[in-house]
Symmetry: C2
Subunit: 344 residues, 2 copies
DNA sequence: GTGAAAGCGCTAACAC
DNA sequence: GTGTTAGCGCTTTCAC
């Protein structure tokens, strides 16, 4: 492995000069050229590890996400990656698997590796602990979920608004007994989506004099396919007037499960309305096509990376939270309880 | 930031002893305990960067994949991650985006960061160049695709066999004019799948005295949704007896595109048979359900990580290539040209 | 503009 | 067993 010293000797200059050539210090054009040429001849590539040790900072940012198999997060990751590439930062992707311990492990790695900064979609709002990074004054941006009490920049989705819009749409389509399959308790995203649902439902029920929201209509599941399926099965087992005629599902994977559960008992949307928070991949192939609340996943990543890079560059300004809006995408699965069945 | 020296001073021992405590050197139990306690009090965490510089090797392995949004690769990544976790290696995920330049950039980073090893699913069989890593004697395992001429361990899928099995199945189901949407020319996976298809088709055509395989039946696309759609559209435009009654699609994403193209012109499998190489996510929701050649994505990753760890540990043995078998999953989309349409 | 020299935090000889 | 010491390759004062 050729080092900066080898190049220096070969080019007849000092190591310091070689370093300056590669880091934009003042060197006369002629010398710089000579250094560059000999470096190329020798196949020299700067050793980033040594550089990091000296600078106490690596040119790598960490991205910690809870589920790499969820297309929402892969899309977010692409956003981060594309933005980072602009400033020659490389991205290290860590999958916390919705597990706070694994997540802590990765946070510690990020600290120990002295990464330039970290973007984190927290596994838990209450239990994710960012103090390891805060201690080292490492720039951190929370994305999608903000751990309680963490004073970091954040890029969030307007989940509550999305939940409201979704529920409102189901009501407008003629559904009345609208259930909600929410995510794990304690996840901010889930809580906010649920809050949007509750707000709209409460208003509606009061106006129509129908009493309080039946607690059976809200199910908590785990944001995974299986959880969605189980929750939907329970909802379908509710007796008489409690049995929902539509369901607002708080994420894409659970929606897949819910659809499977419906299919098992021979029900096809829109007879029971289904609205998914977050796009389902290849939604185009699902029949009937699925109404969704579209999440700005890629933009979330892109924006977070932008914020992080400002902080890394040392920009001093008050903490900020950027909130990105969702967009309701109406398709066939919420056409209304009495709509014509969708031709296959 | 507390260093090994701080701990040493506080515990009244030498830095070397502290190092030994954390790296399994011989230290008396009593001293070791004292060191550990003071380390905990001071919140000491070893600086991995310094460690890497000294050891000339990091405890990180790189995983370079061509498309993070393809579920095949995310599943593979999970396999790598789970295996790596067993030995406390962390995994850095790099997305080459099927782009040889981006890929080279990541390979250089892996070298410069002195990663312990690299697992790479090459973007191109002919143009991916692993010499940067070979020069530094860095352990490398090729997975899914092996760059030509690279002398590295490899974990591969038996693509040719998969292609044969798929094509044979389509013939057995009664299809006769079977086309193939292959991947980019030069990708080993695509070439092998295509070879399997060609072998079976050639035999069949010869036996039935039907002349050579029409070149129109083989289309090369880009392994993406759009490419699959375009190729299928072209196939459907073929005149008369050339128009295929079934198609073998060489990866999952292109299958999605092909299905969309079919739907656009109102054709539903199995009237035209569709067989996908590789699972389509949420295949359960697609109607008619999709026959697939199942890939051992997770196992591929797991096995590759195992091989790599052996090499990192310094195991000396001849280069090996592990080939994992595919499994044909017959579902509705290949029921035969005259099968009853699938009830929706 | 350039070079000499110090040192980032750690590990591995080596001497005891 | 344990401590002393010499770097790993780089950046960055500080003189010149």
């Amino acid at each position: 492995m050729t080092t900066i010293n080898d190049v220096a000797r070969a080019a007849g200059v000092s190591p310091a000069t070689v370093s300056r050539v590669f880091n934009g210090g003042r060197v006369t054009a002629e010398r710089a050229e000579r250094v560059r040429r000999t470096a190329a001849e020798l196949g020299f590539a700067p050793n980033r590890v040594a550089r990091s040790l000296r600078m106490k900072q690596a040119s790598v940012i960490g991205l910690i996400i809870p589920d790499i198999e969820n297309p929402f997060f892969t899309s977010l990751a692409r956003g981060v990656e594309d933005a980072a590439q602009q400033t020659n930062l490389s991205v290290v992707l860590c999958n916390s698997d919705e597990d706070v311990d694994k997540e802590r492990n990765y946070l510690e790695i990020a600290a120990a590796e002295q990464m330039a900064g970290v973007i984190v979609a927290a596994a838990s709002r209450s239990r994710t602990d960012l103090t390891v990074l805060a201690q080292r004054r490492m720039p951190v941006v929370a994305v999608d979920r903000r751990p309680r009490g963490a004073s970091v920049d954040a890029v969030m989705v307007d989940n509550e608004h999305g939940g409201e819009e979704a529920t409102q749409h189901l009501l407008s389509s003629g559904y009345r007994r609208i259930a909600c399959i929410a995510g794990p308790e304690g996840t901010s995203t889930s809580e906010e989506r649920l809050a949007g649902y509750r707000a709209v439902m409460r208003d509606h029920l009061r106006e129509s004099g129908a009493g309080p929201l039946p607690s059976e209509w809200v199910r908590h599941a785990d944001f995974r396919v299986e959880g969605g399926r189980a929750a939907m099965t329970e909802l379908l087992a509710l007796p008489g007037e409690l049995r929902p005629d539509a369901v607002f599902v708080a994420n894409n994977l659970m929606t897949v499960g819910a659809l499977e559960a419906l299919r098992e008992v021979g029900i096809e949307p829109p007879a029971v309305g289904v609205l998914s928070f977050g796009d389902v991949p290849w939604a185009s192939l699902v029949r009937p096509s699925l109404s969704t609340v579209q999440l700005p996943a890629y933009d979330l990543g892109w924006t977070a990376a932008g914020l992080l890079q400002e902080r890394i560059a040392g920009v001093e300004k008050p903490l900020q939270t950027v909130v990105l809006r969702t967009a309701l995408q109406v398709r066939e699965s919420t056409a209304g309880p009495d709509a014509e069945p969708v031709p296959s």
